[in-house]
């Protein structure tokens, strides 16, 4: 019984994954980054015909196979074992990024270190501390039709949604949407709009947890996760 679930007590990562899943349209090609974005596929109905793509050349990835049935030739971009759904294909890296940069990818969901009020994402290095590298993120943010940042709202008590990124940005392109456990935010020409609050979260709590200035117009609804699976 869905309406008996208390979403206010749900794990923040699952709130984010469920809310992002609501953004995914049937029959689209979607790339999910490592971490929270990977969880999104758990909340999609398989009948939707969504194909998951990974930078390493998988088109049509399915869940990790049962123990003993994995194969080291079929992995996602993080190197984890996956399966191939019916109708899957595998392509080389040039083709894979041709899809990404060429606008053939309907949606990418990525984690972030920071996003700012202009919608710039920073997710590939913390100068002087940790330099993971951008991997495919710069191409994904630049090339996908829609870019969603899925991340926990704060890190070590600090807002990850800032007025202007002080970390090096991943792309000059504005991301489409930011989904955290506290809010859904959309960067537009006139600023960073608060579209929804998290389950049981007030507008005031979002404002207090957010460094970036928010545009708040009218009543802000709460995320409606009741239809998610």
């Amino acid at each position: 019984m869905k309406d008996l679930i208390d979403f206010t007590k749900m794990d923040p990562k699952e709130i984010i994954a469920r809310r992002v899943a609501m953004e995914i349209k049937p029959k689209t090609l979607v790339n999910l980054g490592i971490g929270i974005p990977t969880l999104v596929s758990d909340h999609l109905d398989e009948s939707m015909g969504v194909f998951f793509q990974a930078e390493n050349g998988a088109v049509g990835m399915g869940h990790r196979p049962p123990e003993g049935m994995t194969d080291r030739h079929l992995t996602d971009a993080g190197g984890s074992f996956v399966s191939a759904v019916p109708g899957a294909s595998t392509i080389d890296s040039a083709f894979s990024f041709g899809l990404i940069r060429g606008g053939h990818l309907d949606l990418t969901v990525l984690g972030g270190l920071q996003v700012d009020a202009q919608g710039h994402l920073a997710n590939w290095m913390i100068p002087g501390k940790f330099v993971p590298g951008m991997g495919g993120a710069m191409d994904l943010v630049t090339g996908a039709k829609k870019v969603i940042v899925a991340m926990i709202h704060t890190a070590k008590g600090q807002s990850k949604i800032v007025q202007t990124c002080d970390l090096p940005v991943t792309s000059q392109r504005r991301v489409s949407l930011i989904v955290t456990e506290l809010a859904v935010l959309e960067p537009r020409d006139d600023g960073l709009h608060l579209l929804e609050t998290g389950p049981g979260v007030s507008v005031e709590e979002v404002v207090a947890a957010t460094e970036a200035k928010l545009v708040i117009s009218g009543d802000i609804p709460e995320m409606d996760l009741s239809q998610t699976v």
Binding site: G57, A58, D92, S93, A94, F97, M134, S171
Partner: protein, 217 residues
């Protein structure tokens, strides 16, 4: 036609200081035998062009651990602490390249194109010092072609003409790197008789491949 050679012969063939492309993605589709042979031979000052630093035990990891690598050119080093550590200690130069740009620069180097015009990286640190080119009102970053002395490739099947097939996501950079080096060396999982791989299944025509590795019996 190619006579298959041994890993020892490959280790002899590649000199210290060589510029090497190494295929694979998080260690999947990497020629692990060649990596091990080079690490064991104690190669020095290699420049390695590879998608990612993988982990210490796979991909380029063993070469980094053994101190063979002077310079790393790739897109991701986040899960190999050896690389983070050696980079901070100044023992390893790291040049980060966005993944799509990396593969396209290699393709340009291998197919006689003068460079890559990409929107990726514009307005970021990656664009610093690089020229931009305007085409039909849009601005693109001009990235230069990449080539290497050696390309070290992992294949599924191979014949004695050098035709290669790859399997699933172990394909990744292999077919592109096979275009872009003076000497291309393939480590297959199996060698099959000539004529057995259907022409449409060949992903790298044998004309691109200089040497194939003999499998242990």
């Amino acid at each position: 036609m190619h006579l298959a050679i041994s890993l020892e012969e490959v280790a002899e063939m590649i000199p210290d200081g060589a510029r090497v492309m190494l295929s694979g993605f998080m260690g999947v589709g990497t020629p692990d035998g060649i990596v091990r042979a080079l690490a064991e031979a104690g190669k020095k000052d290699l420049t390695v062009i590879v998608n990612d630093a993988a982990r210490p035990h796979c991909g380029v990891g063993p070469l980094v651990k053994a101190g063979c690598v002077k310079k790393f050119i790739g897109s991701h080093i986040g899960v190999n602490p050896d690389v983070q550590e050696k980079m901070r200690a100044g023992e390893l130069q790291v040049e980060l390249v966005p993944q799509g740009t990396l593969v396209e620069r290699i393709r340009a180097g291998g197919t006689g194109l003068g460079g890559v015009l990409t929107p990726t990286g514009l307005g970021t640190l990656i664009a610093e010092g690089k020229p931009t080119v305007e085409v039909e009102g849009k601005t693109y970053l001009l990235e230069t072609p990449l080539r290497a002395d050696f390309a070290l490739i992992a294949a599924r099947s191979c014949d004695y003409v050098g035709n290669l097939t790859y399997m699933l996501t172990a394909t990744n950079f292999n077919p592109i790197m096979a275009l872009a080096a003076d000497v291309v060396i393939a480590e297959p999982e199996e060698i099959v008789p000539v004529g057995v791989i259907p022409p449409d299944a060949v992903k790298t025509p044998g004309v691109l491949v200089d040497h194939v590795i003999k499998r242990a019996a």
